[in-house]
Symmetry: C2
Subunit: 243 residues, 2 copies
DNA sequence: TACAATTTGTGCGTATGTATA
DNA sequence: ATATACATACGCACAAATTGT
């Protein structure tokens, strides 16, 4: 076994391999969709055995960072529209069928970040954010209001794009701004509909809404998006599967 | 490679090993907490190499069915009170700290299963269920109402136990009835508090509540418990982490 | 305290099967 | 048909953790 002892923080070789590969992806050296070197090549480059590389890549598959196809190779995972939709979108109908809502953008503007936004996005004082409000519709009925908050620093110029943003944002973030969303945290609660939300959703003020407060994280657990969704449940549910 | 072709349904050796081990756990031959044979012994018993057994066991660790400790051995996973609490209990405070609520049982009775209950629990006509209602409290304030529905066939005699059931049920199910919960599905929505719930929770009727409708599954995806929780959010949130 | 036995964790190497271009 | 890539399966050696002597 090679000795790659690194001072106080010893790590197994396959962990070190994981970190090296993740770093090259995070730095943009291997962009989403890129074909990685084959197992023997990677092993040679890193000076470890093929088995060690295999173990590292298998872990990266579990983390969702790469995809492997037998006979083809290992690719950096991409946020396709399909996967972008269903990876983090957990709304289902009564029957259990996944909902695929339409989208209507009704506002987009830049402004100073609030204290709460600065804290949750890790922004410095006086940094600006872009706020986007969109209505999600099913059968031309509004079933959800989405409020997205983005740090302008990471999404430069997004506030002045002419066309409405596409329905699925994470593939758009990736292609347009090089921002990869790896993980989201959602806090769910119930709130009473306010005047505005009630009007948009077509419910009386005070009606019970499901609220999802999401923070999306990229590499190094950097928060890159805040999102608040308010949903008129009854026909739709948030499905959580735990094991 | 050994030929273990099984007619039309070929499976890799490590998959077959997984199935054999799972079966012995599901049948109760290896009960929770049991020390499994060592890797070499398992390999010998199943007639495969140690590496194949290792791959199988690693997958079972990911599935949460076994736990491995270096220098000691591999154990069938047990639903300890600790893990029973936090594995499927996703309520957190504003700060992100996990909530550890108290528990007060206020009703337990046997009755005929409704059509919906029969369907979701996979019961035959005229089968009976046991219904348990409990209040979950924080700082002597009721923050959640839990309604648990169990098939009497799997939990014989639970309706006539004298003492109130323990706060964490899944370890109790396991020790007392040999029922192992492997997975839960939860559907979350917002509802308006009714008269009864409002009184118990100390909120006005019509207030927004978070409702969690859970189905718990055991081996072979057999549903073994229904649970409906209604929560007064504001101070508490349901935390969902997706990656 | 020291030592030995046992068990899993890590790492290497090789051969063969299967899917893809 | 050939070459390439990942998937499966086998074997071995040593490290690290634990337990009992």
């Amino acid at each position: 076994m090679s000795d790659v002892e690194v001072g106080l923080s010893f790590q197994p070789l396959y962990r070190q391999a994981i970190e090296l590969i993740v770093r090259r992806i995070a730095l943009g050296e291997w962009r989403p969709g890129t074909l990685l070197p084959s197992e023997p090549r990677l092993a040679e480059q890193l000076g470890v055995s093929v088995g060690t590389i295999r173990k590292a890549l298998q872990q990266l598959v579990l983390d969702g960072l790469v995809e492997r196809r037998q006979g083809v190779g290992t690719f950096v995972a991409t946020a396709t529209r399909e996967r972008s939709l269903f990876r983090f979108f957990k709304l289902v109908e009564d029957s259990g069928k996944r909902v695929m809502p339409g989208c209507e953008e009704i506002a987009r503007e830049s402004g100073p970040a609030s204290a709460a936004e600065r804290e949750r996005l890790g922004l410095a004082a006086r940094e600006r954010v872009v706020r986007i409000r969109r209505l999600r519709t099913v059968d031309s009925q509004v079933m959800m209001i989405d409020d997205v908050v983005l740090p302008r620093s990471r999404f430069a110029g997004i506030e002045s794009l002419e066309e409405p943003l596409p329905p699925t944002l994470y593939d758009f973030y990736e292609q347009r701004f090089g921002v990869t969303v790896l993980r989201v945290e959602e806090r769910l609660g119930a709130i009473a509909a306010g005047e505005d939300d009630g009007k948009l959703l077509g419910v009386v003020p005070g009606a019970a809404l499901l609220e999802i407060a999401r923070v999306a994280f990229s590499f190094e657990d950097e928060p890159v998006e805040l999102r608040s969704s308010r949903i008129q449940t009854g026909r739709y549910f948030y499905l959580s599967e735990l094991s």
